[in-house]
Amino acid sequence: MHVGDHTRVEMLATDTDASVRPTATSEGAAKEVSLVRWLAERESVVVGYSGGVDSTYLACVALEALGPARVLAVTGRSASYPDEQWAMARDTAERWALPWLEIETAELEDPRYAANPTNRCYFCKHELWSRLVPMARARGYAAVLDGTNADDLADHRPGARAATEQGVLSPLALLGFGKHEIRARSRARGLPTWAQPSAPCLASRLPYGTPVTVARLRRVEAAERALRSIGVAGDLRVRDHGDLARVELAPDTLSHWLAQPARGRLARALQTAGYPRVALDLAGFRSGSLNVLAGIRGE
């Protein structure tokens, strides 16, 4: 996290204009100018919109660049998509008057996805884009976009191949937006997602090889909701090891949750959600933790 850059951009935005328009005085703002130009050249776009930091930013900039008649944000919904994320997507779309459409996806019915191989994300994204791209074409949109950013390119992201195969474009990655810049620009625009922890699909809580089922996904979702309800803030993952939940929390909160009475409350919350055994990871939250567990490096 480039805190220095982040702070600098925020201050510029706050000091210069309450409505916050991009300026050429910071790298992130300059990139945003390029993004607006790039979007305008596409003429009309569909944005794969999860309600997360990246796709929300992209959709809102597209709305500004093209207007509501030429932008459609589309959310693919299934059991692997957290309800809270859906609520955030809906609320943001409503607040920003973002044209929004939901489509049902059925990746859990694909045995190649449900077996949870290390390239599981490919089958999920294949399902999403296979529905979304033809729909966009049928409605006359010129391009389909996703929120992949430049930092993502270093990660293990087999889903990116599915996007490429379907001709989906990733302007944030193309123009070199890193996550910290997207957060800074999101804040400057007043987007509620700017500080939102990343929230990948619920299947990412299951170790590779553990079959993805609706019941497992629901239990993970209930467990994370239970932890939020007792005050867990910031990054959080409940990793499902069968009857054992391994909880990853923001590292700076670990000492609090290891001490009583917080530890007892945490264990009871997870046991009520369906995990008889509860463990706290001593390193805390790690993005791609289960990739590390499986010995997978970034690609």
Binding site: Y208, L244, L258, Q260, R263, A267, V278, A283, L293, G295
Partner: protein, 94 residues
């Protein structure tokens, strides 16, 4: 850097174990890690799921001690030295 009387290195003693690790090798590493922890005053049982080690103590004391950041760091380093990519402490078991 380390807790008093508990000096470990970040250097791995072997390549990190992977999901393909056999049960026998996994058990051997768990026993080895349990022995190393006992030597530094942390007696516990270890359950293994892939390359993750789960520490289970007979009483509340281990979790209390692990609220200390420096001790957590040292336990993690010891886990890495024995080939575990993740180390967690069991805080609820019924």
């Amino acid at each position: 850097m380390s807790s008093p009387g508990f000096v470990v290195s970040d250097a791995p003693v072997a390549d990190p174990v992977t999901a393909g690790l056999g049960a026998g090798a996994s058990e051997t590493r768990a026993v080895s890690l349990a022995g190393a922890l006992a030597q530094v005053g942390i007696p516990c049982r270890i359950d293994v799921h892939g390359a993750a080690a789960f520490l289970l103590a007979a009483d509340d004391a281990l979790a209390v001690r692990l609220a200390d950041h420096a001790l957590r760091r040292d336990v993690l380093a010891l886990g890495r030295r024995h080939g575990f990519t993740h180390v967690a402490v069991i805080v609820g078991d019924r």
